[in-house]
């Protein structure tokens, strides 16, 4: 196994960046297809023959069983080809009794008469047209026997117990020093409770699948963030070998964690296509997306801070209570990041979970940090006020020299620099620390800030690089691009590594027949997939160099292969050179292919490696209505070497805007009668729209984290949301003096807080 120190010591074309393609603000590789509407998403691919249409029927109780299904009217409805429920759906691999999100397992559809949550899929109707399928689905009569249910998190949170997730997740209580004694002895204390609501991803593209069979081989296009894992899981569901399943996911209309695994659309399209002997496509409706996929569960977070009068934290605790579905063990790990953020001798963090008869809880953009910073970073603001210390200065005073709990050195940590540069650029010194002092007409204006932190992960990945007789490099990888920019950064890495213009690079991803990569999520995509791409590129360089050195017709013949350079589409040894395309056309007319892979270094756990940032926000609060408007936002981030300043910036500003809505508008209300989500569409679930968002700027510090991976890069997809909502909440307080700890901070709560 490699060592982090080896990565740090070894130069490579990405680090050297001779052509300057790394870090450049390059337009999106697949952008022309997206702006012309010609990038086919899962429901839009053209199957070999016309597809039939499936529409799913969803449960209308939270817990119980299906007493009867009357499919007669649906089956007799025009154009209906089949109606399936648990009574007649084909056999599938059984779901494990307790499942997790990290191991591929069978995910069968319509498996039993049991209903575990409102919106669970209970039937599917497939017909010749979409209209006939929808009409048929409306005719399926389902009779339920409801059991008693528990769906109200706040009514049941006292039943929460320690998470039953694997011990390596470290979600249980962890104490350092003596928290209780430290907190009791602290001269200045904060002890408050924050609530965050259930949240939904609301990806613009609802989950969808188009499937067809050729013999015993299945091809399925679906909207998922990972390729290989879903190939394995779908094969296990269908009880066929993985090599008989080809999963494609070339364009994904947003993921945000909600499309890590496939849902019933993919299973039912595959099964129905086999049963009918023709392609079938199935999509979730917007309403089905809310219930039938996953969501971020609600949390209750108690933060206790103890400090000395000069602002040193002596006691630090964030305890999270959350919920998950009865069969799952996902935990929204809102307390984890606290272990890495601030220094304090006495510390207590942990989680407890109550299982409810609600839809399935899961990962949503920056699970843990997104919700947890909404409490801790506001508590720090409260502490700063109590101490009379500037919020930036308070954080700087508690900056640790090494990881506060493990004592491991930081790979690199520029949180303080993010805060200082942000403060200067934003004009933080103009902030009046006393709330309610600045007016602009009917608006009370305030400034707020918060720190951002999000982890850094490297997963095993592989890739292949091919050079063809035209000198074109093709990157092939079972990676996904969910809007993150993966296509583009892979092209940039390839161009810089092989010394060819960007226009001479092709990228093929989103296909299970390509070398496996972990896909998109947890902001690990670019680092993992990109490092494998670099490795493949280096191996292809070696193969090309040896080709030239061994080819008597090449000007490079006989030269040392180790000294071949790659620049502007030309291979050279000193002043001997030829065009890459000429070499390959002559010496390897069928092209040359090389594989590459990356794995975590053996000693990667010896460092504390994270991404950091600082958010600054100006809001206006309407004196009459309590409405909050974000006027301007600035984020300063340190996330390693940036491959593409354009796509990275978009991810960061996108995340910051998610922070705004997590503070102000987002949240699903649970109907305690039915266990349903009351706001189950985009008119009721308030994602931000254009009018909600003012100026947003993200700045990326020059940084290299050479211990993170061979390229010294990290991810930015989740950093932007972490802390952003807390900065909004702090700005609201500064504007008007309302401290609302029950998110979202809606006008009614602000008016109530103001009295």
């Amino acid at each position: 196994m490699t060592s982090v120190l080896e990565w740090e010591a070894t130069s490579n074309p990405v680090k050297e960046n001779r052509a300057g393609i790394i870090g450049k603000a390059v337009d999106r590789y697949e952008g022309p297809l997206k702006v012309t509407g010609t990038a086919p998403y899962a429901y839009e691919v053209t199957p070999p023959s016309p597809a039939a249409y499936g529409v799913m029927v969803s449960a209308t109780i939270a817990r119980g069983r299906i007493a009867a299904i009357d499919a007669a009217a649906a089956e007799a409805s025009p154009g209906v080809l089949l109606v399936w429920s648990h009574e007649n759906v084909p056999e599938q691999g059984p779901r494990p009794p307790l499942y997790d999100f990290f191991t591929p397992f069978p995910r069968p559809a319509l498996q039993s008469d049991r209903v575990y949550f409102f919106g669970q899929q209970v039937a599917v109707v497939v017909a010749d047209t979409l209209e006939n399928a929808q009409a048929g689905a409306d005719l399926v009569k389902v009779t339920y026997e409801a059991d008693s249910q528990a769906v109200d998190f706040h009514a049941h949170r006292h039943e929460a117990t320690e998470p039953d997730s694997p011990p390596e997740f470290q979600l249980g209580n962890r104490e350092m020093g003596d928290f209780a004694a430290g907190f009791a002895a602290a001269p200045v204390r904060i002890d408050d409770v924050w609530r965050t609501p259930l949240q939904n991803h609301c990806q613009m593209e609802p989950c969808a699948a188009t499937a067809w069979w050729e013999g015993d081989h299945l091809t399925v296009h679906c909207s998922v963030q990972t390729v290989r894992r879903n190939q394995i899981a779908l094969a296990a569901t269908l009880q066929i070998p993985p090599e008989n399943v080809r999963v494609l996911t070339r364009y994904v209309g947003g993921g945000f964690g909600g499309k890590s695994a496939f849902y019933e659309d993919t299973v039912l399209a595959s099964l129905a296509a086999r049963a009918l002997g023709r392609p079938v496509k199935v999509a979730f409706s917007r309403q089905q997306m809310m219930h039938g996929t996953i969501h971020r569960p609600a949390t209750e977070q108690r933060v206790r801070l103890g400090a000395t009068p000069d602002g040193r934290l002596t006691a630090l605790s964030l305890m999270t209570t959350t919920h998950c579905d009865r069969r799952g063990f996902f935990t929204e790990f809102s307390s984890l990041f606290v272990r890495n953020l601030y220094a304090a001798p006495n510390r207590l963090t942990g989680h407890s979970v109550v299982k409810l008869d609600l839809p399935v809880a899961g990962a949503l953009r920056a699970p843990g940090e997104a919700s947890g910073t909404l409490s801790l970073e506001v508590a720090m603001d409260e502490l700063a006020e109590k101490l009379g210390i500037d919020p930036v200065e308070l954080r700087i005073r508690n900056e640790p020299e090494a990881d506060p709990e493990t004592g491991k050195p930081f790979s690199i940590r520029q949180l303080v620099r993010c805060m200082r540069e942000g403060a200067q650029l934003f004009g933080w010194d103009k902030r009046n620390p006393k709330p309610g002092q600045v007016r602009d007409g009917r608006w009370m204006v305030g400034l707020g800030m918060a720190a951002a932190i999000r982890g850094n992960i490297l997963f095993p990945a592989s890739a292949s690089f091919t050079v063809d007789a035209d000198g074109v490099i093709t990157v092939r990888q079972g990676m996904t691009d969910i809007g993150t920019g993966a296509y583009t950064v892979l092209a940039q890495i390839a161009a810089e590594t092989l010394g060819v213009p960007l226009g001479d690079v092709r990228v093929e991803i989103g296909d299970s027949e390509l070398p496996p990569a972990p896909g998109s999520g947890g902001q690990f995509g670019a680092a993992s997939a990109g490092s494998a791409a670099l490795a493949a590129g280096m191996n292809l360089r070696k193969a090309i160099a040896e080709l030239a050195s061994n080819d008597p017709a090449s000007p490079l013949f006989g030269g040392p292969a180790g000294q071949v350079t790659f620049q502007d589409g030309v291979v050279a040894i000193a002043n001997r050179s030829e065009r890459l395309a000429d070499l390959v056309r002559r010496a390897a007319p069928d092209g040359l292919t090389a594989m590459g892979e990356v794995s975590p270094a053996a000693d990667s756990g010896d460092w504390s490696s994270h991404t950091y940032g600082a958010h600054y926000v100006e809001v206006g609060v309407d004196t009459v209505t309590g409405e909050v408007r974000t006027r301007r936002m600035l984020g300063v981030f340190a996330a390693g070497r940036i491959i593409n300043r354009k796509t990275a910036r978009s991810q960061l500003t996108g995340g910051m805007i998610w922070g705004v809505s997590s503070a102000l508008t987002e949240g699903n209300l649970v109907d305690p009668r039915y266990g349903s989500l009351i706001n189950q569409d985009l008119a009721g679930y308030m994602v931000p729209v254009q009018a909600d968002i003012g100026e947003v700027e993200a700045i990326m510090l020059d940084e290299v984290d050479d211990k993170a991976n061979p390229m010294g890069i990290k991810g930015v997809g989740e950093l932007g949301i972490s802390g952003a909502g807390a900065a909004v909440a702090n700005a609201i307080y500064n504007a008007c003096g309302a401290r609302v700890r029950d998110y979202p901070i809606t006008p009614d709560k602000i008016l109530a807080a103001l009295g």
Partner: protein, 168 residues
């Protein structure tokens, strides 16, 4: 029901179920899948197309109501080998990420600029009878029917601004 719609300049005759929306007619019958289905309820704007030059949500309109109409979809705005300036602006400003709302945003932007040119007022318009000045507040208000969950909102403003110019 036999329905003829001129789509992107070409008369397209279809035998349609009366329940078929304009969006599904475009996507499923004509295979013009650039218009997206994000909610099927007129809440997200991903299906925005231009009908006789005016932007509408194609999911909220039945196809048979459009017999004789002229419909422009994103495919009619510009192709990869001949991008419309608005498409170039979206590309240059990185006014999208996942790309699913993008065709609707671009069609909406084109329709919006025409509404401004015709002095249609919006909630943000101070003078309801005078010429409309496309301030950033006007622009944001008028583009608020198109949700971008990736939240490329500032870049979308920049892209449209690069075409529309600064307010007079």
């Amino acid at each position: 029901m036999r329905t003829t719609i001129t789509v992107n300049g070409e008369a397209r005759s279809m035998d349609l179920d009366t329940r078929t929306t304009l969006l599904d007619a475009l996507r499923e019958h004509l295979r013009l899948t650039g218009s997206k289905k994000g909610c099927d309820h007129g809440q997200c704007g991903a299906c925005t197309v231009l009908v006789n030059g005016t932007r509408i949500n194609a999911c909220l309109s039945l196809a048979v109501m459009h017999d004789g109409d002229e419909v422009t979809t994103i495919e009619g705005v510009g192709a990869v080998d001949g991008l419309h300036p608005m498409q170039v602006a979206f590309l240059t400003e990185d006014a999208f990420q996942c790309g699913y709302c993008t065709p609707g945003q671009i069609c909406s932007a084109l329709g919006m600029l025409r509404e401004v040119a015709d002095n249609w007022p919006s909630q943000e318009t101070q003078d309801l009878t005078g010429p409309v000045r496309l301030t950033n507040d006007e622009l944001r208000e008028r583009m608020s029917g198109n949700i971008c969950r990736c939240s490329a909102y500032p870049q979308i403003v920049a892209a449209i601004r690069s075409i529309a110019g600064e307010p007079a």
